[in-house]
């Protein structure tokens, strides 16, 4: 080894010597991180902690924020409702089939209460499954003519838990712009790519699907594992019109996407027997992968359900968050839902036909003729949403003084993706149940309806039309019209 040292050429030794010196220098030099070229001292840290002031937990709310003061209802919320001490005809709750104060439903709920108590004290997996739940699930599946159904204890959570159970990060969902808030929350929880298409516009949807197909051809490996879904509502709660289901099914088979249908408003209402928009259009129910609905509108109970083929629905029993991690539906509410289903099956004629008429200049009716809940929207809007809402509130108050209960449609302004314009809800179909029990009312139900129409007409005349025809509303003139109204 020493001999090799002597025999090596000079430049070789010098090079190696320099390299060794360089290595020693690198080993002993101070290292520094590229990003944090500073280190704070303890005192600086304490100072920063002292100085930091958080925002208040909630921003302050002014006393007369419109959504702060709720209207208090004393007494049962049925056809006649007592709001703020005044008895009004109820045009505002989603009681489409009038089952909210049905005696049979109440008796069944009472019987269930006497057997099971009120709460279930556990989730479905841990002794929270009652025989009523199983019976309700099998009855719903039989009614909708699907293989299986699954029940949730809260209507909002139904579609919001169903979507993230199937669609994960990297999947693609095509949604209508007018989708309701619970669908939006489900989409947010699923972390998938969301693509919006214009409301009920099949060409727009087809354009998006074609674009996606081109992308898939560029990257076939990724396309083989990316699931694609279309989420639509049967009867849209925001625009009160129906989705074109036959065209959607054609698009489904052409582009190989699955359809999730949300039928909260149309269950019990559309179709010959009340089975929803699939029966209305005559579409085979097996073509729809998942139908989700809540039982809080037509069925007049609490909770929601999903139904479809077993292959699809079973998955939610272990991965639907609102199902696995939450207590089950109280058995008396399930028993009430079963009885409501019985009534619906016995008497399929109890569905809605509605009032569709042109009111006066100033208000526009939004929705299809057979929809149970319609929107009344201002024809001509002022510049700001706030003054529109104030005007509608005045109309609602005026109608309530005349014993007709209407309600402003409520939205969370900052959270909605496509905020619908200000409007209020007029549940015209409610009168169908009056036809069944018109002996209860002294006057003819058509009279009551006409009274409602007259009141709204009067309100509109006084408040809307009395204001001069300018594009910008003057708040002062608005107040003036209120004062003249009160003098009457």
């Amino acid at each position: 080894m020493v001999q090799a040292f002597y025999e090596a050429p000079a430049y070789h030794l010098i090079l190696e010597g320099i390299l060794i010196l360089w290595i020693i220098r690198l080993l002993f030099s101070k290292t520094y991180k590229l990003h944090e070229t500073y280190k704070l001292t303890e005192k600086e840290k304490e100072d920063l902690i002292e100085e930091w002031q958080p925002d208040p937990l909630v921003p302050p709310i002014s006393k007369d924020h419109p959504s702060l003061n709720y209207d208090v209802v004393t007494g049962p919320p049925s056809h006649k409702i007592i709001i703020n001490g005044k008895e009004c005809i109820n045009f505002a709750s989603f009681n489409f089939l009038g089952l909210l104060d049905n005696e049979r439903v109440k008796q069944k709920a009472l019987a269930s209460l006497k057997k099971y108590g009120v709460g279930t004290c556990g989730p479905r997996g841990f002794y929270g499954t009652f025989d009523v739940h199983l019976e309700l699930e099998s009855r719903l599946a039989k009614f909708m003519k699907t293989e299986e159904a699954i029940i949730y204890s809260y209507g909002f959570a139904t579609i919001a838990s169903a979507i993230p159970a199937y669609s994960k990060r990297g999947d693609i969902i095509f949604v209508d712009e007018a989708a309701c808030f619970s669908i939006q929350k489900g989409l947010q929880a699923s972390r998938s790519f969301i693509k919006y298409f214009k409301h009920n516009d099949m060409e727009d949807l087809e354009r998006l699907l074609k674009e996606q197909e081109l992308e898939d051809q560029k990257n076939p490996r990724k396309a083989r594992v990316t699931r694609k879904f279309i989420v639509v509502e049967g009867l849209y709660i925001n625009t009160a019109d129906v989705c074109p289901l036959p065209e959607l099914v054609k698009l489904k088979y052409k582009y190989k996407v699955r359809i999730f249908l949300e039928e909260s408003m149309s269950f019990g209402v559309l179709g010959e027997h009340g089975r929803g928009v699939t029966e209305h259009f005559g579409v085979n129910i097996d073509d729809i992968d998942l139908i989700s609905a809540n039982m809080e509108n037509a069925v007049a109970s609490i909770g929601g359900f999903c139904c479809g083929r077993s292959f699809v629905i079973d998955h939610q029993r272990l991965s639907g968050q609102g199902y696995c991690f939450s207590a089950s539906l109280p058995p008396m509410l399930a028993a009430a839902a079963i009885e409501a289903l019985n009534i619906m099956e016995e008497d399929p004629g109890t569905k809605c036909c509605s009032v569709h008429s042109n009111l006066t200049p100033g208000l526009r009716l939004v929705g299809v003729p057979f929809a149970p809940a319609l929107h009344l929207q201002l024809d001509r809007s002022s510049g700001s949403r706030d003054s529109d809402m104030q005007l509608l509130r005045n109309i609602v108050d005026y109608c309530m003084q005349r014993q007709v209960a209407l309600t402003l449609a409520r939205y969370l302004e900052k959270e909605e993706r496509f905020l619908p314009p200000p409007r209020y809800v007029n549940v015209g179909g409610n009168h169908a149940s009056w036809v069944g029990c018109s002996q209860r009312f002294q006057s003819d139900p058509w009279d009551e309806l006409a009274k409602c129409k007259n009141s709204t007409v009067k309100a509109v005349e006084l408040i809307v039309v009395a204001v001069p025809h300018t594009d910008q509303y003057d708040l002062q003139s608005n107040n003036n019209s209120r004062r003249t109204d009160k003098k009457e």
């Binding site: 919320p77 009472l110 929270g128 292959f311 209960a405």
Partner: protein, 529 residues
């Protein structure tokens, strides 16, 4: 250097003032042999799982599970095969321990329905497959802490009256026309019960968390959440869009370190100061049985000016000398907790959740919560059950039933845990928590324990992966005030027997059974960690 504050606590300088009673919690370590055997067990099951999958794929074994429709075979598959591996091969073998249907009140004793053969349509038993009933099975699985799950008595009668008067449904949201006078009365009562300014109630406990945390925090805020928080808290935190950082379970040093780092360094890349910091903890953690170290959390929160969100789903009604929850248990001031959340499902025998706190917070939630705007309000008989049971616990109905039940629950808890420990089982959690997890570890014992206990007419809950870490599967008992001492003795005898048969007595700290002594407040015990 970071643990300035908590070090002072541990060294006892602040300690005497923070904890008014001894805080005894223990999580005994897994014995090495047991851990090795458990991993081996899972390994063998995985190998068999692959074998069965292979056989099913080559059609040597018949496949019973539901399949996709013929016309949709060429669609992208809805489920990845690997996602369901655990479910198909491990869960399906022992699935008779879950989803057991009952057909009576879920009280101290219940009636179970037994399933004849399993319909292979996965996880639910169909109504038609039920053949027999098991009567008077002792119920250790339902969350019935104060025994309000009953179908007779003042609660059930007033709920019946309200059903006849108001009906069952409401069909409108709170902001529109669904706000009944009963709702307002209930909310005032909840506020009075907790000792805060005002409260607001929602129809589902899960939805209370997932819809209100997004209303409180948003982009630019930080959420510090415990490792073992419930799925609803995790979902709410995710939906809010804030940055989430996780601290080790019930570990105050970890929390302090995160707080200091967060305030000093600010938001991740821009280093702007955070708008708000929200600490999210639970009162009792239902899988561990541990109670949150609330005095220390509140001291930290005050020092660093963060906000505290306390989820008392299991602890409301079940802890504390007056049943007011974990704040009452530690003797603290409810105004220190910024957002108190809880559910009515467990101790009140109803359904739903609430949020309580200062008046400004509740007013903000009334106008900005997703639930108030879009979701239907609570059903009237459920509201009535809450009102009656809460009045009973507070003693406002003129009887002492409420106090009796709270006291009995505390006694039952202490007795049950002491006896189990003496027998030699490994029990996790705080000695005062009515949730008692008993470790099983091995996968085969999960199924065996559930079935053996059912043979002895006792219904228990067993939990495995993914609700718990993979080797720490456990059986979880929920003590109730409606369990009498004789019932508990019978259960303990059965558990001892099954424990001997299945060799579940893993504990190496066998304690000699002490003479029965009343609980002595003045004796200071060492803190176990």
């Amino acid at each position: 250097q970071q643990k300035v504050f908590t070090d002072m606590c541990l060294r006892g300088q602040h300690h005497g003032g923070l904890y008014k009673r001894p805080f005894v919690e223990s999580f005994e370590e897994t014995p090495m042999l047991v851990a090795v055997l458990t991993y081996m067990g899972y390994g063998i099951l995985t190998i068999f799982g692959y074998l069965r999958d292979f056989l099913r794929q080559w059609k040597i074994e018949r496949c019973h599970i539901a399949r996709e429709k013929e016309e949709q075979r060429d669609f992208v598959p809805l489920y990845q095969d690997f996602e369901n591996f655990y479910t198909r091969n491990l869960y399906m073998r022992i699935r008779d321990n879950w989803n057991r249907p009952i057909c009576s009140v879920p009280g101290a004793k219940m009636d179970l329905m037994e399933r004849a053969s399993f319909h292979w349509s996965f996880l639910v038993c169909y109504y038609s497959a039920i053949i027999s009933f098991l009567h008077d099975v002792i119920n250790l699985g339902s969350y019935n802490y104060l025994g309000f799950a009953e179908n007779t008595g003042p609660c059930a009668e007033s709920a019946a009256e309200v059903t006849v008067k108001y009906g069952v449904g409401v069909a409108s949201s709170r902001q529109e026309i669904g706000n009944l006078d009963r709702h307002e009365e209930m909310e005032k009562l909840v506020a009075k019960f907790l000792g805060v300014e005002s409260a607001m109630a929602f129809g589902m406990g899960f939805a209370t968390n997932s819809m209100n945390i997004p209303a409180l925090t948003g982009k630019g805020c930080l959420i510090l959440s415990d490792e073992l928080n419930h799925a609803s808290l995790v979902l709410g935190a995710r939906l809010s869009g804030s940055i989430i950082r996780v601290f080790k379970h019930n570990n105050m040093q970890s929390l302090e370190k995160l707080l200091r780092e967060a305030i000093v360094h600010g938001q991740p890349r821009t280093h702007r100061p955070w708008k708000k910091i929200l600490i999210v903890v639970e009162g009792i953690y239902s899988m561990e049985g541990s109670i949150v170290r609330l005095p220390e959390v509140i001291a930290l929160k005050k020092h660093y000016r963060a906000y505290l969100y306390l989820d008392e789903a299991h602890s409301i009604g079940a802890l504390g000398p007056r049943g007011r929850g974990v704040v009452d248990y530690f003797g603290l001031d409810p105004c220190d907790v910024d957002v108190m959340m809880g559910t009515f499902t467990k101790s009140f025998g109803a359904a739903g959740g609430y949020i309580a706190g200062k008046r400004e917070l509740i007013e903000y939630l009334r106008s900005h919560s997703h639930s108030a705007v879009y979701a239907t309000s609570m059903s009237p008989p459920v509201v009535e059950q809450i009102i009656t049971s809460m009045k009973c616990i507070m003693g406002e109905d003129g009887t002492t039933i409420g106090c009796e039940r709270v006291r009995r629950l505390a006694e039952n808890t202490v007795y049950f845990r002491k006896r189990l420990r003496e027998m030699g089982f490994i029990i996790y959690g705080n000695k005062d928590s009515p949730v008692v997890p008993m470790m099983l570890y091995m996968p085969a014992k999960i199924g065996a324990f559930g079935r053996e206990m059912l043979k002895r007419n006792i219904g228990v809950v067993v939990v495995g992966f993914p609700a718990t870490p993979i080797i720490e599967s456990r059986a979880r008992f929920c003590i109730s005030a409606s369990h009498s001492r004789e019932l508990l003795d019978k259960v303990l005898g059965a558990i001892c027997e099954v424990g001997d048969v299945l060799q579940l007595k893993y504990s190496r700290h066998r304690i000699q059974p002490s003479l029965v002594r009343p609980f002595d407040d003045s004796v200071y015990e060492d803190i176990d960690d």
